[in-house]
Symmetry: C2
Subunit: 199 residues, 2 copies
């Protein structure tokens, strides 16, 4: 519809997740028409990301060095590992400031439908990290959905053989939420995991 | 939150219209993690757009040459000009295949609130195009909102002095829409512009 290169840009933008043809067109025209928008900066950042960003050799988090900033930080507890699916989960957990240990990014979750099995995840690397006996507890923080649960169950069984404490994040009502709008599974989990307050 | 360059990418993506911090993060991680996503292609397309795309000297549409593909096309009627606000409006109208004349892109609409007056639009260039008497009709196709209406009214008055037919796109009920959901202004316009079918 557009002349060559403008259409190329719309096509490339349309490949990004969550950007449909209409948004791609709107963004392309924004880039074309706004003088304040720095196209060069965006292009250069993309190339820098391509060239410089890799994954932490230890935990699999995004990093600009061999080890990510968390694995390099001597103040982090070395005997506690939180296992997550994706690097963005690391950021979400860091935001809580509740966890001061290390991470292990699996790179996804077990999903037979998508053809993702345990061997496609960084589980072997996790076992290697646990081999020397430094780690005392593994907190499994996979997503609270079908794939995440399957992965957590698989990991729990696998870790049973080691002398390591394994825990999982609590399921229950989201804080600030409304009980009547909670789905039945969440509400069921909230009952299951109820804590004694008095007595 | 992220290490240097990943955060840079999230920031740059977040500057694009319609992309909030969450989407920017999702897109950045897609770019980082998906091997099939061609970062180089996107970066190179951005730079190509920066270097090659300009605006048609005649109509103001996006173009890779001095004149855009529509202005260069000898089959397009030279005596009919459709005035639109933005280059993307050209694409929308081209999609209808109803119009075979030329365009004139104003580059916006009159909007006192945003400090945009007639001199900030390509109105002078429009008058120059009309000066030699080739054009017989100007179709004003500005947006059917406050700014678009103001611009249309301004142009209509300005063009009154020339011996040129001036028309505006019809307002009315959108095709495929539902009468009961039409807003009162649209419904009012639909009555105003009603067409005699019998008699």
């Amino acid at each position: 519809m557009y002349e060559g290169i403008v259409q190329d840009l719309i096509d490339e933008l349309g490949r990004l997740p969550g950007i449909g043809p209409k948004s791609a067109q709107r963004i392309a025209f924004h880039i074309l028409q706004t003088e304040s928008f720095d196209v060069t900066k965006l292009a250069e950042t993309l190339l820098a990301v391509r060239d410089k960003v890799r994954f932490c050799e230890q935990c699999g988090n995004v990093s600009e060095q061999d080890l990510c900033s968390i694995c390099r930080d001597p103040r982090r507890s070395q005997n506690l590992i939180c296992v997550v699916e994706e690097a963005k989960d690391v950021v979400a957990i860091e935001r809580t400031r509740e966890f001061r240990g290390l991470y292990h990014v699996l790179g996804g979750a077990i999903s037979p439908i998508d053809g993702i099995g345990p061997d496609d995840l960084r589980i072997r690397q996790l076992m290697q990290r646990l081999a020397d006996g430094t780690v005392e507890e593994v907190i499994i923080a996979t997503d609270p959905n079908l794939e995440g649960e399957a992965t957590a169950t698989y990991l729990s069984r696998l870790l049973k053989s080691l002398e390591i404490k394994v825990s999982r994040l609590a399921s229950g009502l989201p804080v600030g939420g409304d009980l009547e709008y909670a789905d039945e599974v969440t509400l069921g989990r909230a009952f299951e995991g109820r804590r004694v307050v008095v007595g």
